[in-house]
Amino acid sequence: MKTGFSVFLAAFVALGASWFGLVYAPLEQLGRAQQTVILHSTDAWPPQRTGDVTLGLQVYRASGCVACHTMQVRQTGVANEIALTDLKDHPATDFKEFLNSLLIAPPLDACSNVILANLEHWDGKVPVTLYSGDDGAVVAALADKLKPAGVKTATGVLASGSDLARGWGLRQSVAADYLYDQPVQLGNLRAGPDLSLIGVRAPDLNRHLQHLYAPKSLVKDSTMPAFRFLFEVRKKVDGQPSPDALVLPPEFAPAAGLEVVPTAEARHLAAYLVSLQASAPLYEAPFTPVTAAK
């Protein structure tokens, strides 16, 4: 490093390499992404947005909601599950015997212990989970071989992780979920809960409006600041409340004769929150909830 030029060259090559790797390559890979297709369906994902939802994202950005809320769910694993859902009048003992005979051949022999352990205290009630693990081949083989036996099974892919256990998502977030976001508001702090699935968890628009106006009226110990500046407190016309006035508990309601009416911004923001429903299984993030096994 004797000359300024050599320093410049080293810095230029180093930063240039990372520019190609972390800016140019992702642009090439994802920059021209289009809608994708929901798994086992012909529907497109993500759905096109309506006007108020698009405007709502701008209110979300302008209010700095991203400072406290993430919009990305992580999963730690995937489990392939197969459950017995219907014995079709076969006695449970017969089924067990038949299953035992299957467990000798690969690939099932490798996990015969696991499967037998699942059925050790089985009293014949269905549904019962036969196998749940990361080996998809086992599930496929079991489903294949149990079919001729005349019993019904259900297979599924279960995403797991603490975020999912909290109900914040049904699967991990993937790049496709953010196709229409401008700006993308992933967030990096969970001072409040994750919002990827808030539209499924709380589908009521009016509930969102009330929560924005007075968070404590719905969540007692909420640390969320109130967003009263998105609302208008005004006099009732002829003593009659207007149709969109908030219905608030008495301790949060304004003085008599006044009413709280959401502004257009508040309505857009609530519409945007209701639209956050990352609930579709995708090729890169599959899940089929096995309702039977739960």
């Binding site: 180093a14 994802l30 909290r166 976001d181």
Partner: protein
């Protein structure tokens, strides 16, 4: 650089040439630091009393916190660092600052950009991208101002009498390239009329934040510390080969970090970042070795002087660098991501590492360029303890609270309300540190302001004296340009 120290007349001339540009940069930086810390305090108030700013959209948490973060980075750290870089380059070149009027103009453009950006965020016109919240107008101003300052800095570097480069040259020169490239890339992509689709925006944002807050600050901080430490400790910088190794590994590996583990992006991106983060531990380790070599047994006491600031800052670099890189390890990221840990860490990087080094440098440089002592040297010393204590009380509860939060979030049987309640205790404790920081910053602002006023009064006296002087004085004598007046003041102080 040692020669320039011996040649006092040269040093005087060099310092004087830096006076106006550096005052413009440091003065604004001190003001933004106070405002940034005050806004950060206002933002934290939202967690003490959630409904405090319910009717005031300007100061709602999302606005105030973003504005505070950007004020610290763009308002305080960058202009102050650029000022220090100008001075170090002039000293290392043993030549007066080249094009001294250019950085003065640039400093004003820069501060205007910060003002516009801050107002825009508070009014709800933020772009929504972390660390890039300033709108387009503001970004253009900042970038133009930066280019002007960089031109002056590189021109000064080109004037050097001894053609050999000092290690600080590598780091600081590279830092100039870093800001120019990463800031322009990020803004051109994210704030254009047709930004890239979807999650690519987040990837570019991470790339920028990593190159700014980790690599960029490391380049600036190490470069400045490696200039001052040998002077303060009175011994040469050891192991040029070690330092070269640290420089090259930092720029080649550090730049690839940034994509968090588990992010909703193609899996190769977080994998590359995790691998690069592991390799980036090398420069942190090597800097630690160099510090050990230069600092061991030096026995220099500092009592809140510039050396204390720089020691605290460079040690903070080691700690924050290590913690930052460990955060890319998948098992650590599962606990630490999405918690207050990351927030506390970035505040430590900005205030505890870079901020402390800059404050030490400013307190060291100010008396030299003004040719007079600080008006309140005692307050400068007190401000060290305010800052050192303030930073630790501010960030440590946040980071410990973040770990607790991460562990509890990972256990789905703990309700989210309980997680929030526990974290709130840590968060409230951290606000005390913000008060300490604010007091320290006010002492800095007081010193800079009074020093500036004293200097302006001196200039005014010169002008009055020139006006009152007998007419036989040649017409060129009055202090009509900014260059002639400071030179004559310096002559008086010296005699």
């Amino acid at each position: 650089m040692n020669q320039s120290g011996n040649n006092t007349a040269g040093a005087n001339e060099i310092d004087t040439s830096c006076r106006v540009p550096l005052l413009a940069l440091f003065g604004g930086a001190a003001l933004w630091l106070v405002l940034g810390l005050a806004l950060g305090f206002a933002a934290a108030m939202s967690f003490h009393a959630p409904d405090l700013f319910a009717d005031c959209s300007c100061l709602t948490f999302g606005h105030a916190q973003a504005a505070a973060n950007d004020l610290l980075l763009y308002g305080f750290v960058l202009p102050a660092a650029l000022g220090v870089v100008l001075w170090i380059f002039a000293r290392l070149s043993q030549a007066p600052l080249a094009l001294p009027i250019v950085p003065v103009v640039a400093a004003n453009l820069w501060h205007l950009g910060v003002l516009i950006g801050t107002v825009a965020i508070l009014m709800g016109d933020s772009t929504g991208h972390a660390w890039l919240e300033y709108p387009r107008e503001s970004a253009v101003l900042l970038f133009a101002a930066f280019l002007l300052i960089a031109v002056s800095a590189v021109a000064t570097m080109g004037l050097r009498a001894n053609r050999d480069l000092y290690p600080s040259h590598w780091f600081l020169f590279a830092a100039l390239l870093w800001f120019a490239w990463s800031y322009s890339t990020a803004n051109l992509f994210l704030l254009s009329a047709h930004p890239p689709r979807g999650v690519v925006q987040a990837i570019i944002g991470w790339w920028f934040a990593n190159n700014m807050l980790f690599v960029g600050l490391a380049l600036l901080g190490i470069g400045i510390a490696f200039y001052f430490l040998p002077k303060f400790l009175g011994r040469p910088l050891p192991g040029a080969d070690y330092i070269l190794f640290a420089f090259l590994t930092l720029v080649f590996f550090g730049t690839w970090c940034g994509v968090p583990q588990g992010a909703p992006v193609p899996a190769w991106l977080p994998a590359v970042s995790a691998f690069a983060a592991m390799l980036s531990l090398l420069p942190v380790l090597v800097v630690a070795i160099v510090l050990w070599k230069i600092g061991r047994g030096a026995g220099v006491k500092c009592f809140g002087g510039p050396l204390c600031f720089i020691k605290f800052g460079i040690l903070s670099f080691l700690v924050t660098g290590f913690l930052y890189l460990i955060g890319f390890c998948p098992s650590a990221s599962r606990v630490l991501d999405f918690t207050w840990f990351g927030f506390g860490l970035s505040q430590w990087q900005l205030l505890g590492f870079m901020g402390m080094i800059l404050l030490g440098a400013i307190y060291e440089i100010l008396p030299r360029i003004m040719h007079r002592d600080l008006p309140f040297p005692k307050l400068a010393q007190v401000s060290y303890f305010c800052f050192a204590g303030g930073v630790l009380v501010y960030v440590l509860p946040l980071m410990i609270g973040g770990v607790v939060q991460g562990v509890k979030l990972g256990d789905p049987s703990v309700p989210f309300a309980d997680v929030s309640a526990v974290v709130l205790l840590f968060f409230r404790a951290s606000s005390l540190g913000q008060v300490g920081l604010l007091v320290g910053a006010l002492f800095l602002l007081l010193n800079v302001l009074v020093l500036t006023v004293q200097w302006k009064l001196g200039l005014l006296k010169l002008v009055i004296a020139a006006v009152k002087a007998p007419l036989s004085v040649p017409a060129c004598a009055p202090a009509s340009t900014s260059n002639s007046a400071p030179l004559s003041t310096s002559g008086e102080v010296k005699s």
